[in-house]
Symmetry: C2
Subunit: 117 residues, 2 copies
Amino acid sequence: MQVKDYQIRAQIAKALAHPSRLLILDALQEHELCVCELTKLVGSDQSTVSKHLALLKNAGLIEDHKQGNNIYYRLLCPCISKFFTCLEEVVHQKIQKYQEAGKSASESACKCLRNSI
Amino acid sequence: MQVKDYQIRAQIAKALAHPSRLLILDALQEHELCVCELTKLVGSDQSTVSKHLALLKNAGLIEDHKQGNNIYYRLLCPCISKFFTCLEEVVHQKIQKYQEAGKSASESACKCLRNSI
DNA sequence: TGGCTATATGGTAAAATAGCCATATAACCA
DNA sequence: TGGTTATATGGCTATTTTACCATATAGCCA
């Protein structure tokens, strides 16, 4: 693979690398939602959510369509669920590793959390 | 899912969101490699590569073991290949979309690249 | 038309990230 | 022991990302 390819792939990965955007993608797995619904869900400023959506769209992960006064977003890439599964596996493995080291699962989750903040 | 869970998952996704780190993970799919080998491969400063590795390790994606004077890193999570497949699908879909819009694949690849830089 | 609602965009400040240099640490070898 | 190699870490700067506010745009409805 070429350097260029890794850059393209990194852009997509970057789009996945924010809690609010993961929440949005997760919600969109069920059915499409408009910006105002997603804004309520995420709990950030409407402009912030709008920018998250623009970023996801730009990465090719979602698409939008207008319906009256609203703009609805829907998942474009069904493989997202595979990605979530992958994340699950890592998290699970991480917790297991800490347990093996004699620590509790909650401790390890806390560590993950601290690192991610 | 809880907000906390999305934060943990975002940390893992963030670890994947850099061309050099994707290159490293890809290389480690074959077999384990020491830091000096990875440094040559990536072409950045040794300290930079070391920090990328620390980040990947912290995310739970790789682990290290010492052997003599070298430290070898190996992939901890075989599901990484699934993630790469997921990225492939998005990239492919993106290119297809541009082609449908009457543009060439190279144009779309360039656009991805520009956006990712 | 005027006002209301939904969404996107520009500006800006704060925080996070990336990269390099210098340096610390640890293992090996002569 | 002293020198060399491999790796990690602290410090610093430049860049990127994020979030909010203010505002622009567009569609709807009375």
